[in-house]
């Protein structure tokens, strides 16, 4: 290709890229960098009117946040949600994916649509629906448990049960997403492996353990990372269902950041919370990548 044409093409490329790069640079990357700077200042409600009065305070926000029980409580709640809810979600997704991949099952498309439907629903709306399903007296869940002989649970009113209730909602809402990705992973495992194993007399469990699980390893990594990143950002469920209660038992880090930043307008401190969460998520991602690499 001649130089003139090459230059023309490069010019066209930047023309096509300009809107997207400007938008992403200005409204995504710049705020993230600015967020770090903001977390090093005492930016508060007074500074919103006149930003020049905000002062640089070094790591003071971080020190303060790390000294407050409130943050550790929120982090503990969030980790509870991630560590229990994440694997439960993936397990439910795996079960559904295996079920819908079974050769004997018909009308797969129909069931796949049904299982996936909660994923596209509006979180706020279904959180409101579930708030009523969790009603201690009239809720459907306690009715069903009562039929099994289990006593009524005050799902959203009891600090011990509020987070499990949110986890259950999240599993219901999200399992369809990973189900689809795991289904694609299952399809990529060569059929001949199963046939050969069957000829060798390997039972269903053995085939699952020696062929299916290893075959799904790369998919599990992807699913694990995106689920973890998503679950660390827990916000709308507690905001709508419990407002972080009872006794702050469902206050997530994101909810704490929202309250600090947009209710009390302590923007510097809220930014520090946001960055601490970001650092934790990043560390979690790296740990998962490292674990997979070592397992291989």
């Amino acid at each position: 290709m001649s130089g003139v044409l090459e230059r023309r093409q490069a010019r066209a490329a930047w023309f096509f890229l300009a809107p997207a790069l400007a938008l992403i640079g200005f409204f995504f990357f710049l705020p993230i960098l600015a967020g770090f700077v903001l977390s090093l200042t005492d930016f508060d409600i007074y500074a919103i009117g006149s930003p020049e009065i905000a002062r640089f305070v070094g790591a003071r926000n971080y020190a303060q946040v790390l000294h407050e029980r409130e943050f550790w409580n929120a982090l503990q709640n969030t980790i509870y949600f991630v560590v229990v809810g994440g694997p439960l979600s993936v397990l439910a997704s795996l079960g559904a994916a295996l079920l819908l991949s079974a050769r004997l099952v018909r009308l797969k498309g129909l069931f796949r649509t049904a299982y996936f439907a909660p994923v596209v629903t509006t979180l706020v709306a279904v959180a409101i629906v579930w708030r009523y399903l969790y009603h201690p007296r009239y809720g459907f869940l306690n009715y069903a448990l009562g039929a099994l002989g289990v006593g009524p649970v005050d799902w959203l009113g009891d600090p011990r049960w509020a987070m499990p209730a949110i986890i259950l909602l999240a599993v219901w809402k999200n399992f369809g997403y990973n189900m689809l990705i795991l289904t694609a992973g299952l399809q990529s495992i060569p059929e001949e492996l199963y046939e050969a194993a069957e000829v060798d007399g390997a039972g269903a469990w053995r085939r699952f353990r020696s062929i299916t699980l290893p075959g799904l390893a790369p998919t599990f990594l992807f699913v694990g990372v995106i689920t973890m990143i998503g679950y660390f950002q827990l916000f709308a469920e507690p905001y709508v269902m419990t407002q972080g209660g009872p006794l702050r038992s469902t206050t997530s880090v994101m909810l704490l950041m929202y309250e600090e930043g947009f209710r009390w307008w302590r923007m510097g401190k809220a930014s520090a919370i946001a960055f601490l969460l970001f650092a934790i998520v990043l560390a979690g991602t790296l740990v998962q990548l490292r674990m997979r690499r070592e397992a291989r």
Binding site: A12, W14, L17, P31, A96, L99, T121, T122, I128
Partner: protein, 274 residues
């Protein structure tokens, strides 16, 4: 053979039960929204209204002005969808088919950005929009969604499949790059743009945290934000809230059912190299 059919029946029973359990909350929501006031709070819980009524829907549209919020959401969602399809298509095409210096490095930087949760920059973004006078405006709600790294990625993967010869032939004929994009590339990548559109529509409609932060004037609330604030005032009105929830979910559910094939295809494309 009988063992096989027994196993088949068992699997089907599990699949059907799972499906019913998954849809039960949505069925209950729909049923309760047509119940007489107070009927949803009865024991044992009921799924079907004894005497169906539209009164809660009427209430939502007359006294609570839900139509306004519905319209707010529709305007925001449709605008975001249309603008972002165009912006992402242009960028995805440039990354996929045009040669320029630093292309691969730039693309890698963008991909790395996908790992960063957008919330990390939410506070400065708010201050930035405040400086620009965009707080409490629809544009403020929409502008961060006008371009998306995921969208660019999706389009770029698809564009790679467009034959170079086609574009080069058009260049030799003297067509300008913009014309090539408009008349050759766009029609060819239409399928992925439909997928991207369905994705964007659903996520823009469902978006909650950002509109909650940006909008302070109740009349401007999008549907999910309005619904959340309604849920605080009308805790006792179960049937009313179910009607509001159903109306909020309905548009995305319809879009999903209409476009599910392309939606699923897009998810696969997005996850394989994600």
């Amino acid at each position: 053979m009988t063992r096989r059919s027994l196993r088949g029946s068992f699997l089907h029973a599990v699949v059907v039960l799972g499906g019913l359990a998954t849809l039960a909350p949505l069925f209950w929501m729909a049923g309760a929204s047509f119940m007489q006031t107070g009927e949803a709070n009865s024991y044992p819980p009921r799924f079907l209204p004894s005497e169906p009524t539209f009164e809660h829907y009427v209430h939502l549209f007359t006294r609570l002005d839900l139509a306004r919020h519905f319209l707010n959401s529709a305007v925001v969602t449709v605008s975001v969808t249309v603008v972002s399809i165009l912006v992402n298509a242009m960028a995805g095409y440039a990354f996929g088919k045009l040669r320029f210096r630093g292309r691969d490095r730039l693309f890698r930087v963008l991909l790395a950005g996908m790992m960063i949760p957008a919330q990390a920059g939410m506070l400065p973004l708010f201050l930035l929009l405040k400086q620009m006078g965009l707080v409490n405006t629809y544009l403020g709600v929409m502008i961060p969604s006008f371009a998306s790294i995921f969208g660019i990625f999706l389009v770029r993967q698809y564009v790679l499949g467009v034959p170079d010869d086609l574009l080069d032939a058009a260049r030799i004929d003297g067509a300008g790059e913009v014309r090539i994009f408009r008349t050759i590339v766009l029609p060819l990548i239409l399928p992925i743009l439909v997928t991207l559109g369905a994705f964007t529509f659903i996520s823009a409609w469902n978006d909650f945290m950002w509109p909650l932060v940006v909008l302070s004037d109740g009349a401007k609330y999008t549907l999910p934000v309005a619904l959340a604030s309604l849920a605080g005032e009308h805790v006792q009105d179960t049937e009313l809230m179910m009607a509001g929830s159903l109306l909020t979910i309905l548009p995305v559910l319809v879009v999903f059912l209409l476009f599910q094939k392309v939606y699923f295809r897009g998810m696969m494309a997005g996850s394989i190299k994600g």
